[in-house]
Symmetry: C2
Subunit: 490 residues, 2 copies
């Protein structure tokens, strides 16, 4: 046998078993051409000595490589690199300069522009609606998930409408906590509220349908509606929420089919839709056969008085499709949202869901159902509600201390953000840009404006960080305040 | 204090803590009206005695109810049902006859018809492409998921293109096992192949684009293309796969923008696209700027000879978008698929993904990345490939024993199904219907036909069941054979 030199970087005690590390290492050498087809490999006994591993480890590595076709073993003659490799040689895997990435050869239509940019690491995020993932009950969640995985049917194809157990638990939750009487067949479990909205729009609106939206609102929802083919019609709002009289005028003037709104803690202004307007909106919807898409994205986080019941709970006309999410109850990363409403509408949205991603993650859905059934999710909301209330107080106090006069706000009864008016001689856009450079991300009013024009507001979220971090974020925000423009009033 | 009777069905040692059970039980009594607003409740000490629980349990239950607004406690006077209940009373939660489900009041456009019907429990499923969820390495998966949950960033908002670690692991897998040189930025992680296809169609095809498909093919893919606005053009196929010459004629005759195909183990016929046709297709795509959507849904399960390299691996023109899935590698229920190709095309698909469901399940993506990095997923494929080969042999032997003459087939080099020709005087549709009644689900050729007309074929999958179950399924199938029509030839 010829001398055979081999060094492989093995990480002992690392996450990957040694046999797998050896197999991947040798496969890499073969692929890169360092080991040629037909080359003799050391015996498993010698390989074990060379790498200082147990012989069984070397045997396991060779068995894996043989099964994959990289090597062949002849009982008498020894072990060799296969003459026919499992696949054609790859074009780039050996180290070296990277070739330019290929450009698509087919024609590309224009793409929308997602707001997917994440701030650089270390940035404090005063972003509305982002809860603190550090508060998630991960141990309970991991246990429930492990239990759910034990049932083989959770790993196969299943109900595209969502796990029946989760739909039953959501039905109970909606009845108990929000006064919404909706049976499990009136619920479709989705990947977050974003998918709920995308499905509702695709399944229930004809192409080109006009949809009314709040003139200050949630851009990702607008894009979901636009990508579904909708034409958006902005309707103004004030401190009592969406201007329903103006909506009624627009409905009369053009054929509006649906309205999308956030009536509970309006996004981004945090105001609640006034009681008279709620009734007027439901009556308008009934009369004009309008679909009402009610996005109740943070129902649970209400600190003063009772949470308002959703529009859907007093919707005798079955006009409302209710969009909910567990992103704030548990965690955004779980991507569990839902659509609730009349079963015939839900059935249509389910059909679209089937052709979009077939079904949800049934094991995760079962695990979340367990957390709801056991009351773990509800207790979590109860605990975190107090935490978030403390954070709101910390943010309000820090702003009053450091930015009195520059920012003014009313503490809203709920939600995870303050909507702050910026004093007239300051530019909200400039301030937000300087703040990001100083390590704190905040959102200027322009981001929420349908017309894309500047607004003298900043939205400051208090969900993501603890009270110490919030004070530091306000310190950075104050330090980043831009110079006042010309005619400073103070 | 008045006498106060209370019985609650408590499940000791059950999954829900006793305090939560008590709280939910009392909330239910309040909601149903059994406990009226203002009614006095027993002291926590008395409640504990009545229910035979520890006093701390009773205190915890009351604390939860108080936090939710169901009850109020006055230190001196005692505990009472709130006079203002947390929400408006629900319209239906007490037992009683169920009111008819509300019908949507807004207008509903026509809906597509999903094939979501699942066979009744106990049915043996000889359905192609459905792997056996009992083989999934659930312990390793649950461990990896628990580890992934420990990182708070996996529970928050993150990269809509997929976890960078999973994209890197997929890049390595594609390079190592399939000869595909694609960098992590050329990969978009999706919810299964279904979403990969839906996104590619929505992001890369203009509305109304003509897309060629196999005349016998995968209906759920066609619906995804149709819902994205595509007009489908069926192209015939034979025992060498898609008729590329005929495709070229169609491309010249009408403005075809893309072709969707399953070149490895054609769905449903199991044939491989012949080498000459592969080259001709790539050349046609390059010349005509055609987008090729290559669905390589079960690459791993190839039993004889080497798996064919994907079209994408010899695509010098960057015309191919490669659709892959881990549904067969790990489990369909995990819904991990991906799109791989030119980075500019992937960026466009990612933008659409953001507005559809924002991002994947980052914790699950990290867990699956770990299984790939450690070689656990690859070892699983190696183990299950032998299992599936054994099942294929069992199915083939059972069919030859029980249905010689009625069914004929060639054993394909890979995949999870046999495509069986039904003898001329037998109706495949009738047979499939009778088989379902006898407890075995099989798919007649009509289900795969673009024209929706009957075809003398049955597709019999062997992935879902073990060898004993397969033999039983064939016994049921043979027992369900319909009478031969008029001119029986034997």
């Amino acid at each position: 046998m010829r001398a055979w030199h081999l060094t492989l970087p093995l990480e002992r005690g690392g996450p990957a078993p040694l046999a797998a590390q050896i197999a991947r290492g040798l496969a890499g050498r073969i692929r890169s051409g360092a080991l040629r087809p037909g080359a003799r490999l050391p015996s498993s006994r010698l390989l074990a000595r060379m790498l200082e591993v147990h012989r069984n480890t070397a045997l396991a590595a060779y068995a894996e490589l043989a099964a994959e076709g990289w090597i062949t073993t002849h009982r008498a003659r020894g072990t060799f690199v296969s003459r026919e490799l499992p696949v054609v040689a790859t074009r780039r895997l050996a180290p070296g300069p990277r070739p330019p990435a290929p450009r698509a050869h087919f024609e590309l239509p224009p793409a929308p522009d997602p707001r997917a940019a994440l701030p650089p690491p270390g940035t404090l995020q005063l972003l509305g609606g982002v809860p603190d993932p550090r508060l998630v009950p991960v141990a309970a969640l991991a246990r429930a998930y492990r239990r759910a995985l034990r049932r083989a049917e959770h790993l196969s194809y299943g109900d595209p409408q969502g796990h029946p157990r989760l739909r039953a638990a959501l039905s109970a939750l909606l009845g108990e906590a929000r006064g919404l009487a909706v049976a499990p067949e009136g619920i479709l479990v989705t990947r977050g509220a974003q998918m709920a909205l995308a499905l509702a729009a695709r399944a229930l609106l004809p192409p080109g349908a006009a949809v009314a939206v709040e003139a200050l609102g949630y851009r990702a929802a607008w894009e979901a509606l636009r990508l579904a083919g909708a034409r958006l019609v902005p309707v103004p709002l004030d401190e009592r929420g969406l201007d329903v009289e103006e909506l009624a005028r627009r409905v009369r003037a053009e054929r509006i089919r649906a309205v999308y709104l956030t009536p509970h803690h309006q996004y981004p202004t945090t105001v609640a839709l006034a009681p008279g307007r709620r009734l007027a909106l439901l009556e308008l919807a009934r009369r004009e056969r309008l679909l009402v898409l009610e996005d109740d994205y943070d129902n649970e986080f209400h600190y003063q008085g009772r949470p308002l019941a959703p529009l859907a709970s007093s919707d005798a006309g079955a006009s409302v499709l209710y969009v909910g999410t567990l992103s704030k109850v548990l965690a955004p990363g779980l991507r569990i949202g839902f659509l609730a409403g009349a079963p015939d509408a839900i059935a249509r949205a389910t059909a679209h869901r089937y052709f979009l991603d077939r079904q949800g993650d049934l094991a995760l859905e079962a695990a979340v159902a367990e957390l709801l059934e056991e009351g773990e999710a509800q207790r979590h909301v109860w605990r975190t509600r107090r935490v978030y209330l403390g954070r709101r107080q910390a943010l309000a106090a820090a702003l009053r201390g450091a930015l009195e006069g520059a920012l003014s706000f009313r503490e809203p009864p709920g939600g995870m953000a303050l909507w702050c008016r910026v004093e007239g001689s300051l530019s909200a856009d400039l301030w937000a840009g300087r703040a990001l450079a100083a390590g704190v991300a905040v959102q200027p009013g322009r981001l929420f404006a349908f017309d894309g024009r500047a607004r003298p507001w900043l939205r400051l979220g208090f969900g993501r960080h603890d009270e110490r971090e919030i004070r530091e974020a306000v310190r950075r925000l104050a330090g980043a305040m831009p110079p006042r423009s010309g005619s400073s009033r103070r």
